[in-house]
Amino acid sequence: MNKMIGKSWIDGNEALAWGAALGQVDYFTHYPGSPVNRVANDLEEIDREHALGIKFNHALNEHVSILAAAGASLCGARSMVVMKHVGLNIAADPANYLGVTGVKGGMVIVVGTDPGATCSTGEEDVHWYVPQFNLPLLEPVSIPQIIESIPTAFELSERYSLPVLLFLPATLCFNSDAVELPTPPARRPVRFHFEKNREAYTHVGAKAVQHHAEHLRRIADLRSDTWRAREFFNSSAPVGIVSRGAAHCHTYEAIIELGLEKVTHLLTTELVYPLNENEVRTFAANKERILVVEDQDGFLEFSLKNLLYNESPCPIHGKDRLPSHGDLDYQMVLGAVAEFLGCDYNPPVRLPTVEIPERLGTYCEGCPHRSTFFGIDQVVGDSDTIIGGDIGCSSLPPHRPDWLLCMNAGIGLSQGMAQIVDNQSIVSTGGEGSFFHMGIISLLNAVHNKIDFLHLVFDNRIVAMTGHQLSPTSEAHDQQVDHYKLLESLGVDHIFEANAFLPFEVKYRLEQAQKLSGVRVLWVRGNCAYFPDAEHQHRRKVRTLHIHNEKCGSCRTCFEDLGCPAINERPGSADIYVDLDRCARCGVCLEVCPNEAIEVQELTN
């Protein structure tokens, strides 16, 4: 029995990290993405505090990450890889092979999903990958269950030689609970070694078919041996409700609130794929009807219907009563359960919704992207120049780029457009995080195809949006990449550089680049306002700013065009002022003011 550390509040990200530590993970790799962006940071902290000696690989994309985890597993290590739902698209190619190769050390693939797109550019339902990969899928429903699920996943993975998927929706990633935490055990004393086995790891022709058959056998064994689910309320009730993931808690509470405990049998599956056929048949045997409560497209409903097809006359409902888009809320579930059971209930008298404009966030005070876009606007103006947008802080409102889709959509879509449009300029943009994710390949592609094309890299020297993970250009990185040498070696025709905090330098370099042809890159450098934090804190201590309204020509350039949140209007007056509690003292407002109305003062004390 491990010594208990005590009760602590932990959220879904921390629970995954604790689960990894308690499951004696040896190798951890990830590509950061919300809602699972902090698992690596949390596990590193546990690793440091308890001297576990876990090996970390802060991968530059999900494809590398999942392969690295598989490599460690094939040497006998317990490996875990974490990514967000759209990251699974990048990792999908290798994920298709992992069932057929099998694994040696337990391997867990954690995917953060995002019904409601609360922190993503889409709410893609990655459940449909699961039968294609044909890998087991766990979906815990609470913080304690998340912690338990990782050791369980390692055991299942080792028993059946299959990587185990674990999906966690944003709702659960951001939930917190107070749980008793034990001291993590020391790592297993295993000497990792790759045992060569070309028979097993070479897939071509007849061998690929044979390995596929073995994969099917292993998943069939797991299906018949394993059943991880919890049942609540009255097992002899004729009405069954089945749920998974975050929908479980809404369903459980709705049944209690409606007083339906005696007439309902609730089944919540933790092992969502593959479903144990005998157990599902036993559950459905005495049911007159079943309602499936789940988020997204209805994967569990589809699986149950598939399994019970031609066997049970019991009708199965789900997405005919609950939406496939957005996140499920309690009200929806309460209404669906009440209606399904023909239960009269008085919904709580709630106050009406008041429509308030959405706050999508914006660049922080002192963000290098704000001044860079000011420089771009000086060149682009109201012309129909295309601005290619990418994922990351640079795509935050006010939405200057013309699209916001997926990683490297800036450098990718722009190439096709550059080759096909007549008389329309293009400035492709993207952060350095995206550039190192797959942008390098995209840029090489432009060189390879001799595409006349201009790409701008916002290098804020950190992966800011997901919580400040190091990027290859971070100053704190002991192997900091020399971007100039890199671009030169890729064969870029013209390389320009600019300081992000000097918007007119950005403008000048952009104009120079636009006059040339070939593959052109403008690398714009400027540290994130909040990393390193000490820099920003120091500036606030030694510098203050003031707007002299008597000099101000009311052009509103600083307030509207630059749009720094630290510059505000005084209520009932045309005067503009700097909110010093918010100002990061980056000094960009001085640069853009045409009237020299903004003064910076260096403080002596």
Partner: protein, 197 residues
């Protein structure tokens, strides 16, 4: 109220990124542990580091017979007992979570909507006047100004609102414990709160 039947106290703390919603939520979470109160909590924020909507929710289970791990921490519509709004528009965004007897504590200082930085200025109503709730249930004060007066900056709004909440509206925890826990949880506040601890 069904939730009253279940004896679950529902609290929402809302504001914009950078105001300290997460810190105040953490303090209340820790106070729940110290008081041995089972609770569930969630913190929702967008992708941006700053100036997006941030919503903290906590449900405190006074009925210990309930298996609270099976309950969601999300406060259902019409069930919020206490709402702390560090920004008045964000408090109003939670209007449909309230019921007639909900208690609202809101800061009157507005954070401008960045999308409103257009050249055509629109006049906006006072958000405080839009709450459809009995006047005695709403407590709206300029906590930003109070923070400037008391601490010389606006970053202690979350502390001041938490202090008001514990002292005047929610006597489940002691004000001394609140301040002590705040200092432990938000180290940067220690210097400012030193004379109080």
């Amino acid at each position: 109220m069904a939730c009253r039947k279940q004896k679950i106290l529902n609290l929402i703390i809302v504001g914009v990124g950078g105001q300290g919603v997460a810190s105040l939520l953490k303090v209340i979470q820790k106070l729940c542990i110290a008081a041995d109160l089972p609770a569930q909590s969630s913190l929702l924020k967008g992708g941006a580091q700053r100036l997006g909507t941030v919503t903290g929710q906590i449900r405190i289970f006074q009925n210990r017979d309930l298996d609270h791990f099976n309950f969601s921490p999300t406060v259902p519509a019409g069930r919020c007992d206490f709402l702390i709004g560090l920004e008045p528009w964000e408090a109003l965004r939670m209007h449909d979570r309230l019921y007639a007897d909900s208690v609202v504590l809101a800061n009157s200082e507005q954070t401008p909507f960045e999308s409103n930085r257009g050249r055509s200025k629109r006049s906006q109503p006072d958000p405080a006047e839009l709450f459809l709730i009995a006047p005695e249930q709403i407590h709206i004060h300029d906590f930003t100004d109070q923070s400037r007066q008391r601490f010389g900056n606006n970053v202690m709004v979350n502390y001041l609102m938490g202090e008001f909440f514990i002292n005047d509206l929610f006597p489940l925890f002691s004000a001394t414990e609140f301040t002590k826990t705040f200092v432990q949880t938000v180290p940067r506040s220690a210097l400012q709160l030193q004379p109080l601890t």
